[in-house]
Amino acid sequence: MKQNWTTLSLLEELSCTFGPSGCEEAVADTIRAHIAMYCDEILPDPMGGVLARIRGTGAAVPGPVAPRRLMLSCHMDEVGFMVRSITEEGLLKIASMCGSDTRVLAGRRVWVGSAASQVRGVFGVKPLHLIKSEDRDNALDIDELYVDIGAESRQAAEEMVHVGDFGTFESDFISFGMDDGYIKGKALDDRLGCAVLCSVMRQVYEREICPCCDLYFAFTCREELGISGARTAAYKIDPDYAIVFEATAAGDISGTSEYRQVARLGMGGAVSLMDRSTIYDRPFTDWILQTAREENIPCQIKQYVSGGNDAAHIHKSRTGVRCAAISAPARYIHTASNVVAKKDIVSIEQLAMAVINRLCGEKK
């Protein structure tokens, strides 16, 4: 049982944990260790997710949004790769498992292995003078990339890693910028959602908040693959309302037209209206936006229709689920250095708490 943690310290721990899609055990263990005492029950999940339940009082929920069961969902996995084969020279050929852009891989440090142990490596590419001039402008094909783990032969490499092992970026978690107000690290998509929801669970426990409806906190697997663990989680939990806590690509960088920026750092959680796989429940979404307004919590509407998340599967589960999504704006998503603003993390956590507070009955 972990104590004396903050959202940020937990985010650092989670960010540095090894957890590409399909290999989330270490992340799940960390999360379980932080939340076990703050929930009534953790449901078994064969997909490997952590599904934690906080029992509601069963009283009538005041207000227009009255869930029977509310699912708060985030995903534990991060973009990564799998070792596909090992060359004679002891280099690893890989299969990508996400929308990682090969241009951001070359020269990066990585971890390769399993949830239990990993070895260091780097993404190698041909030196520039060996690349044909016509190919210099093109993004590399994943087949041309390799990971160098410092093995002198296939045999030596096989003592360190195996075909089927997983890999992700190795990347420090650091605070930087004005007033140390920004952080950078890997896998903030979506360990940030995980850290926020862990923190929310603790607040509900410590402040003795008694929601009328059951709250289910779902830490899901394999979102980045699209083979969402959220699908089976939602089937099991059978919620009538769900909120997905995510990270979304912030395009507030030079050269992007204003209307294509999606979300801007420092402006609060980005609430989705529609993306490529979900049309979010409008009354529920409006209610969340109104809650933010009334409590003076910064938040923004996610501009532009792009991306998709676990809501894709959750909203179509069983007889249908009313879904909303709140995303942390993150620059350079799916690279080794995601950048987010600390104050957005605070805003998102406040908004989640404000939502839960509104699902409570009269104070005793």
């Binding site: 209307y259 049309i279 501009q303």
Partner: protein, 328 residues
């Protein structure tokens, strides 16, 4: 039927924003069914309990359209398509917002036709600034091409969006014969078909039918330059065998064809090589069901000038009633 269709065309229902239309349809269907309910996604499920097998008929309420994503400094709106918008067919059209406001959909100056897609388009609602525009519409508001319907020669009608308000009108009209239905019958008016058959799936999960029959439009092979396809306007109800999303249940398709023959209803077999339908979602929901589709032949689908034939519409209605009246 025409009166019903006209009424449906007046109520905007871009995917995800079907609530108003759902409310209207639910009210109209109340007298004919034992229960009428709306589920979490907005599907309207109308059930008439009965002996024997559970049959589900499903027409989708939603239409393709657009969603406002951004309001520019100078009052122009940016938008994204909702469903399969053909920007060539939509360029320079009048559009209507849910609140009745008008605008026009215009490509940016100098955009080549081959670059016609969402980002190249703006909506001009006549507002001179972001402030002025923000008073009239908000990010997240939806709009669609202005609806219309005119009669053409030979009993044909032309308008928009006949996909799939025609299917809804046919089911609503068929509901008038509900007293004669055998079986346990559910009519579903589904949501979000145009964005990925989303509503039919949750509706079918709830209804758990033995047989699921979509009622939707299909393309025809009788337009100029059309791909080979054995469906023509005016040749009757189309019984779907497959489309890109589904291979229909052979037993059900055969049974529907036999019923049509027995009742003297003109029909044709449909194999659609582009596009999907709620049939696929019905088939795979829950533990699955035998799925098929009664299709209404439609020319120029997803344009502002979709065209259908009254004889086909009548044949589809007759076939649906005949199926519902046949003991399964």
């Amino acid at each position: 039927m025409r009166t019903i269709l006209k009424k449906l065309l007046q109520i905007p229902s871009v995917s995800g924003r079907e609530a108003r239309l759902g409310e209207y349809i639910a009210g109209e269907m109340q007298p004919y069914f034992d229960t009428v309910e709306t589920d979490a996604l907005g599907n309207v499920l109308c059930r008439k309990r009965g002996e024997g097998k559970k049959l589900l008929f499903c027409a989708h309420m939603d239409e393709i359209g657009f969603i406002v994503t951004f309001i520019e400094e100078d009052g122009y709106l940016r938008c994204a398509p909702v469903g399969g918008i053909d920007f060539h067919a939509a360029a320079y059209s009048k559009v209507v917002f849910e609140n009745g406001r008008y605008g026009v959909l215009i490509p940016e100056e100098g955009t080549k036709p081959e670059d016609y897609k969402g980002d190249a388009f703006v909506v001009d609602i006549g507002a001179k600034s972001r402030e002025a525009a923000s008073c009239l519409v908000k990010v997240g508001d939806c709009f669609a091409l202005e609806s219309s319907m005119v009669s053409l020669a030979g009993g044909r009608i032309c308008g928009h969006p006949l996909d799939d308000k025609l299917g809804c009108a046919i089911l609503m009209s068929a509901a008038g014969d509900a007293a004669s239905f055998q079986n346990d019958i559910t009519f579903v008016f589904s949501v979000q078909e145009e964005v990925g058959l989303r509503g039919a799936r949750t509706a079918a999960f709830q209804a758990e039918p033995d047989f699921g029959i979509a009622v939707d439009v299909t393309l025809t092979g009788d337009t100029k330059g059309a791909k080979p396809m054995a469906v023509s306007l005016g040749k009757g109800a189309a019984i779907k065998l497959q489309d890109k999303s589904v291979i229909c249940d052979g037993y059900l398709a055969e049974k529907m064809a036999r019923i049509a023959e027995e009742k003297g209803i003109s029909y044709q077999k449909e194999i659609l090589t582009a596009g999907g339908s709620d049939t696929a979602a019905l088939q795979l929901a829950g533990a699955g069901c035998r799925a098929g589709c009664v299709s209404i032949p439609l020319r120029y689908c997803h344009s502002g000038v979709e065209m259908a034939d009254s004889k086909d519409i009548q044949a589809c209605r007759d076939l649906i009633c005949a199926i519902a009246q046949t003991k399964f």
